[in-house]
Amino acid sequence: MTALRTARVLAGLLAGASLALLSVPAVPASKDVATALRQYEQHRYAEAARSLRDHIPADGQNAQAWLALGMIYLKNAELHAELAAVAVDVQIDYLKKLAARKGAGRSRAVDLYLGEALRDAGRPREAATHIARFRARPKQDAGLAALAPVSLGLAQYQSRNTAAARATWAGVTSKAPEVRAALAAAYAISGHNAKQAVALADDAAAARANPGARMVKDLIAVYSRNGRIDKALELADGADLRAPSHVEGAGSGRVIHFYDLALLGELARLYAVAGLAALERAAGDAAIKPTADYYLARGHAALGELDRAQAAAERFLAVPDAPARFRDLARIHQAGLTHRRGDTRGAMTVWQEYAGRGEPELLAEVIAACTGAGADCGAFLTRAAAAADAGQGRKFAPLNVAIGRAHLARKDYAKALAYLEAGRDKSKKNKIEGNDPVMLVGLAEAYYRTKQYSENLEIYFEMSKQFPAVRQIQEAMQGIYAVEHKSAGDVKIF
């Protein structure tokens, strides 16, 4: 599964408010854990994870810290998965506008990047066409030209033309570290020559002290799929995630920044895997295990590991004194697994039971789980909308957000906008401390779809201070807005 497809599943399954703190009564939290959890509540995931990782004792006995770290990574995975899912359409929209230009002023690199974006969006045949077009043009940038066959091979692999993919990769002769890293990532993703992937990546990493954005993405892809999570996290932490993958026309009158769409998906995957690994370590402590299982169920489900998710959910639900609220949430999301295994009636029965209780928080979770599982949520949405429209106060904010996100999934952007706005804390408009960044990403998407680009850009402007990888969305959105805006050039004093 590509990082992006993983990201899309992650985005659906981790969605909702239930990654809230589950209290751990056995042992009081250490100062470091308390600090990290405070940062987590403020949605400053990178800071929280970094400060906690730096303080976990080497003997690995601090189960609370591992639990907190697992929660933080899972939430960061959810966010990056959302970003990756949004970035697909934004990037393709932007790159298509660039590619539409004819004549001498046409970008040279656009076909490669558009091809890669289409490939990451699950459209490998279109991708191959664009990559082939890039390769056919003379005098391309030598670095990109060397990378192009690796990209083409991945598109062929995704088109299930494995033989062609192998042949294409076999023809790659460049020894440049960037190309070797890209080949390693292709092997890791496809499973072809998977055993060589890590060694190739290690060689490439050793040869390049300061890898560029594309190489970082490729190395993360290799290491996160091969158990080298710390190495991958180290790369992600050390990289400038704002940096473009390629700059065309540097020093000239027209400079275009190209980004790797897959970076966001790889980060989402990395954080999910890191979260699961941390939770497994936390589960080694009997007192923490039930809590860890609760989150493991969500994390495994997000990565499509349904059996493991089911097993973890069952272990949690078997604990007699598990907090009632979390038991309810676990059952609601377990029903999502049930639905994904084909038992729609079983899932609906559970969701109807909880929706019938009339509690806005549970209704929000039902909507989130149902939407994430791709089920028909129409009846729940009607009930939820009635409750949200009649409700008042911040208590109903999560319900409004869940309804908004459901409408987003249904591509009803006007309704999505109305409900997400209703759920937004307006006194902290774009601040991630006041509004869940996952909600803000949804809201930004609704604004993008309704062509209110400046609202979208303002959201990402604030978010970029904490999550630098959103730069690629900002740049693409600016590019779309520059073409799409229709104004006379007016300015007024106020």
């Binding site: 609202e455 229709k486 004093i493 106020f494």
Partner: protein, 534 residues
């Protein structure tokens, strides 16, 4: 019209079916809406004004040849369709035949024709007309009447988004008393007539502007009977007025009041992204301010984040240059200068200043003492605190600032006509074309022009011109990124922040869509249920 064979039909939309009739959309007519405004507009016509309060009024009173619909697409208005030549240089507009000008007292309404379009273009471009619009329409070579209901514009060269430029508001040939050019003394600028959904009825002694529904509006009568714009000198009073039902809408909520309004179920808070920012602007005609190191020192001396947090509840974003963060032109790589008073003092010393006995920096026997002029309409508590904080921050690095609050019209005359100031505190609001040419191009220095500070740089001029000439969107982005970086470095302003934009209105007003810049573009569709009309 033989040229038509070589044209591309760009758009052919909406036939003129809504002939001066109710909208027949099932929504009720009636009711009135009072909205709170920030001060009183100097003029009410679309040509001489350069302020937001007037812009909102003119949006209710006038129409352009084309408009922007709720989907942000170009839509027919006074022109029912148009053609563009293949080379992008010739635009022909075919006008509606069912449009009437608002009637003046005792007169019958006159029909709108091609003569009005040509008249508007000519008067807008007349050298003696005081208008910030002129610079925007210099790309037009000529405007011609083809017949009573068609006009042709020939451009000097093709430009990006040309059609959007024809959103300029058309005024009647029989409107201004002087048929050649328009000045602020012409009675028309205080008592205009248009073709729009609302007719200006009167301006009360309290400067409240009353508008009534245009029964003959060509898109169908607007639903709401009456609009009233009420000026407020203080933002806090405006919010309280809405809380006590004295007004129904606030066009821009004071950021400090957002939590209070959000907590009241009677009202809806609606974000709209007017691309705006606040700044301290400097008069570069003052030799003390001509050195960019002095202006940079001011930027280092003020703690913008502290001001934003303390006076606006953190409801905004610090900016680094001449574009708003929500704009496509903002250079994301340019970071705002940090608060660093020591660096500020170092820069002043580098520029040749030394502290005098009284602690005030001086050079060549001249004290670094400035007059900061602020319009009195901005005399809200928050703004007072901002300017006093500015005074203190600069005092800390040896700069003396005297704050003068001036009545809005007097302030505009001092700043835009007389250039009698050292520094101002103000805000610009942009539409989304990110056009800063009128602010920083040297050709825009002069009476009633927007480059009030007299900033002049051949390099900036050249980039601005290049940005206007290019037909390549990415090149234009690149140029704007350069402009952002260079103007951040040049510091003709101390760029401050963009504040959160929310409108608030009573729930009784339905189907409210807000144009992010012009605000009232869709107000003819708003309605109030009969049970809630008063």
């Amino acid at each position: 019209m033989k040229r038509i064979t070589a044209t591309i039909l760009l758009s052919l939309a909406v036939s003129a079916t809504a002939l001066a009739a109710p909208k027949n959309d099932g929504r009720p007519d009636g009711g009135s809406l009072s909205y709170g405004e920030y001060g009183r507009p100097a003029t009410l016509d679309p040509i001489t004004s350069n302020e937001m309060v007037s812009l909102r009024i003119t949006e209710l009173v006038f129409n352009g040849l084309v408009g922007i619909d709720e989907k942000q697409e170009i839509a027919p208005e006074l022109a029912e369709r148009w053609d563009a030549s293949a080379d992008g240089r010739v635009y022909t507009f075919y006008l509606r035949k069912d449009v009437k000008w608002h009637a003046r007292d005792g007169e019958d309404p006159r029909p709108f024709t091609a003569d009005d379009v040509i008249f508007t273009y000519n008067i807008m471009m007349h050298p003696r007309t005081i208008s910030p619009l002129k610079v925007r329409y210099e790309f037009i070579d000529k405007a011609e009447k083809l017949d009573d209901y068609s006009v042709r514009f020939t451009l000097k060269r093709p430009i990006l988004n040309a059609l959007a430029k024809f959103t300029f508001k058309v005024i009647p040939k029989h409107g201004p008393s002087n048929p050649l050019y328009l000045t602020r003394e012409d009675p028309f600028v205080q008592n205009p007539i248009g073709t729009g959904p609302f007719i200006l009825r009167n301006v009360t002694a309290d400067r409240e502007i009353i508008l009534a529904a245009n029964e003959d509006y060509f898109k169908g009568r607007p639903h709401i009977d009456k609009f009233a714009a009420k000026p407020f000198a203080d933002q806090n009073i405006m919010t309280q007025a809405m809380m006590f039902n004295a007004i129904d809408m606030i066009v821009l909520v004071n950021p400090r009041d957002i939590p209070e309004i959000q907590g009241d179920k009677r009202f809806i808070l609606q974000p709209y992204n007017a691309l705006s920012y606040s700044f301290f602007g400097y008069n570069l005609r003052n030799p003390l301010l001509a050195d960019k190191r002095v202006r940079q020192a001011f930027a280092y001396a003020v703690n913008r984040q502290e001001m934003l947090d303390s006076f606006f509840n953190s409801q905004g974003t610090i900016i680094s240059g001449p574009f708003a963060p929500g704009s496509w032109a903002y250079n994301l790589d340019v970071q705002p200068l940090p608060f660093d008073p020591r660096k500020a003092q170092d820069l002043l010393k580098e520029a040749g200043f030394t502290p005098g006995a009284d602690g005030v920096m001086q050079k060549g026997g001249k004290k670094l003492a400035l007059t900061l002029k602020v319009p009195i309409e901005k005399e809200s508590e928050a703004v007072k605190r901002v300017v006093l904080a500015f005074q203190n921050y600069l005092k800390n690095v040896g700069v003396q600032v005297k704050v003068e609050f001036k009545e809005w019209q007097a302030w505009k005359e001092d700043v835009f006509a007389e250039h009698d100031f050292d520094a101002i505190f103000a805000s610009w609001v942009f539409d989304d074309s990110a056009d800063i040419s009128s602010l920083f191009h040297s050709a825009e220095i002069g009476a009633w022009k927007n480059n009030f500070g007299g900033y002049s740089s051949p390099e900036i001029d050249s980039l601005i011109v290049e940005s206007k000439l290019t037909l390549d969107h990415e090149k234009r982005r690149t140029i704007n990124r350069k402009l952002h970086a260079m103007l951040a470095e040049e510091a003709p302003y101390t760029f401050l922040w963009t504040l959160t934009n929310y409108s608030a209105y009573h729930k009784k007003v339905r189907r409210v869509a807000i144009h992010p810049y012009k605000f009232f573009s869709f107000a003819d569709e708003w309605f109030i249920p009969e049970s809630e009309q008063r």
